[in-house]
């Protein structure tokens, strides 16, 4: 994409006499042509893996039991062999493809044999074994696709355990965090860390809802935020903090939209022990943010405030939190000259306005009044920013 664009653009530059042909070639050669055969191999592997899984449903009952076992074992070993040979010869795409197919064969093999021999399968052990297998294969050939495969296997296992069996599995969580967390940490790739942290956040949310009370999720998000101060690497710190903030944003949005005081005020009991976690964690985060000199960035911490403490005011408080957060993001972006932060702030702001429009059930506060107040506050913020910017410009002129 980039290379195609630079090729077309630089042709015009040569014609206009800005650069000569030699310079053009030098510029173009800086943009390497990205080839993505590995991606195709990976997608092919997924399709074949799916075919493999759908064998469960296929007309499979006519074959003798022991022969089926041989088919599964043979299929799996054959692909491991192919992958192994491919890696020795340096065909990494083919190798990863073969390994992913073999891993799928192993997983479907467990379930096929379980069905065949009528085992009771009410446990997460198959997913645990499957995840371990993927991890070991990853360690033998550290290729990100194998890591992602294992990560998703463990995640799906956990979801099934919590939602279907109503039993959060600590072993799967340990495998996810310790094994895949450590290997992911060593990989130091931002996108993979985003995948890891968001899948972990989903697991912890489901855990909070099914085993504790929903609001305990805020503690887990705070933990993410705290841990993010402990890592130096940007590739890991950003996803950790980002996941904490985004998940809390979604959490507050849902509270603004769905929190029904009439349903909750009776059934809702806030455990006191919650404060025992919230207060130290939140103070620690604020302290670290101040020590880090995040002036305006501090406003994003409003997301972690427990708006559900007063059920009657929850939706209102949640809306205030959302507005403070989005305005804070915009101001922060403006101060740091980070366009992207301003954009996120605008998106968050629009979402917040949308919520106020849908959620108009406050009898004690008029919507018109709310919007008017909001408008005036924003106007004030704009004025202050404008003056601040002018002073800054003046300051730089004098230097």
């Amino acid at each position: 994409m980039k290379r195609g664009w630079i090729e077309a653009e630089s042709k015009e530059w040569v014609e206009e006499g800005l650069i000569d042909q030699k310079q053009r070639q030098a510029i173009v050669s800086r943009y390497k042509r990205h080839s993505t055969p590995t991606l195709f191999f990976f997608l092919a592997a997924i399709l074949i893996g799916l075919a493999c899984l759908s064998l469960v449903a296929a007309n499979w009952t006519a074959i003798h039991h022991l022969f089926r076992v041989l088919i599964i074992l043979g299929f799996m070993s054959a692909f491991y062999f192919v992958g192994y040979r491919a890696f020795i010869r340096g065909h990494h795409g083919v190798g990863v493809f073969a390994y992913v197919v073999a891993l799928s064969a192993f997983g479907s093999g467990i379930f096929l044999l379980g069905d065949m021999y009528h085992f009771s399968m009410n446990s997460t052990l198959p997913f645990f074994m499957w995840g371990i297998a993927a991890l070991l294969i990853y360690l033998s050939q550290p290729h990100v696709f194998i890591w992602v495969f294992g990560l998703i296997v463990v995640f799906v296992g956990q979801m099934l355990a919590t939602i279907q069996l109503h039993d959060f599995d600590w072993f799967l969580l340990a495998l996810f965090v310790i094994a895949f967390g450590t290997t992911g940490y060593l990989l130091k790739q931002k996108r993979l860390m985003w995948l890891f942290t968001s899948l972990l956040a989903v697991q912890l949310f489901v855990f909070s809802v099914s085993e504790l009370e929903f609001y305990w999720f805020t503690i887990f998000a705070l933990t993410f935020y705290l841990v993010s101060y402990g890592v130096k690497f940007d590739e890991i710190q950003k996803p950790l903090q980002g996941t904490a903030v985004i998940s809390m944003f979604i959490f507050v949005v849902f509270q603004a939209l769905l929190f029904d005081p009439f349903v909750y005020s009776e059934a809702f009991v806030l455990q006191e022990i919650y404060y025992l976690f919230l207060i130290p964690f939140l103070s620690l985060v604020i302290l670290l943010a101040i020590l880090n000199q995040e002036k305006v960035g501090l406003t994003q911490l409003v997301l972690f405030l427990p708006v559900f403490v007063w059920p009657e005011y929850t939706t209102l408080l949640a809306t205030f939190v959302l507005f403070t957060f989005s305005v804070g993001k915009m101001v922060e972006g403006d101060q740091l000259y980070e366009e992207s932060k301003v954009k996120y702030g605008i998106v968050a702001f629009l979402i917040s306005i949308g919520i106020v429009y849908i959620e108009m059930a406050w009898d004690f506060l008029d919507r018109t009044f709310f919007f008017l107040m909001g408008g005036l506050v924003l106007f004030g913020v704009g004025m202050i920013l404008n003056r601040y910017q002018r002073e800054r410009l003046k300051g730089s002129d004098e230097e």
Binding site: N122, A133, Q141
Partner: protein, 173 residues
């Protein structure tokens, strides 16, 4: 070099897991204790899901008089079920509790998972044996029968269990 070792460990482990599943099944047939339990009376249309049958056992409904759990049990908690044979040799529920119970005479103990308590104060539990894939010729037989099923299950001393056979019997009016 160490990577190569990881690979071989991984592959061997996977082969061993799959082979273990196969052998443990045959071991169950050979060394396991075989008992017969009964399902609820069923309507063929309700229990067939594609190619498998959903079995709900009489022993999965525990009346208050057979319930010996200490206090509130949560969903999916481990429940011990004591079964005792009747005159026909079919095992019926004697007691269920969240603690282990002493096994006397011909009684056998199974592990189950707690589900919920229904409106009639009956505790629903799950023996974990609800799926059964019948053979092709058996499928037709089960599809057209409106009755109870007698399910033969094998229990191993190490807590594994599996369905050995399913046959349908007429309901005594």
């Amino acid at each position: 070099m160490i990577r190569k070792r990881f690979f071989w460990v991984a592959v061997t482990l996977q082969v061993v897991v799959l082979l273990f599943m196969v052998t443990s099944s045959y071991m169950l047939d050979r060394f396991g204790q075989v008992i017969t339990i009964q399902t609820e009376a069923f309507n063929a249309e309700e229990v067939f899901y594609g190619d498998y049958v959903h079995l709900s056992y009489s022993a999965e409904e525990v009346r208050p008089e057979n319930w010996f759990a200490s206090d509130e049990v949560s969903s999916n908690q481990l429940i011990y079920v004591l079964l005792t044979p009747d005159e026909e040799g079919i095992f019926r529920l004697k007691a269920a509790s969240d603690r282990e119970m002493s096994v006397e005479g011909d009684d056998v103990m199974l592990q189950a998972r707690y589900r919920y308590q229904d409106n009639n104060q009956i505790h629903q539990i799950d023996l974990g044996l609800e799926r059964y894939h019948p053979h092709t010729e058996q499928q037709e037989e089960l599809e057209f029968s409106e009755s109870r099923m007698l399910v033969t299950i094998a229990l191993s001393p190490w807590g594994q269990k599996k369905i050995v056979e399913v046959e349908s019997v007429g309901v005594e009016q």
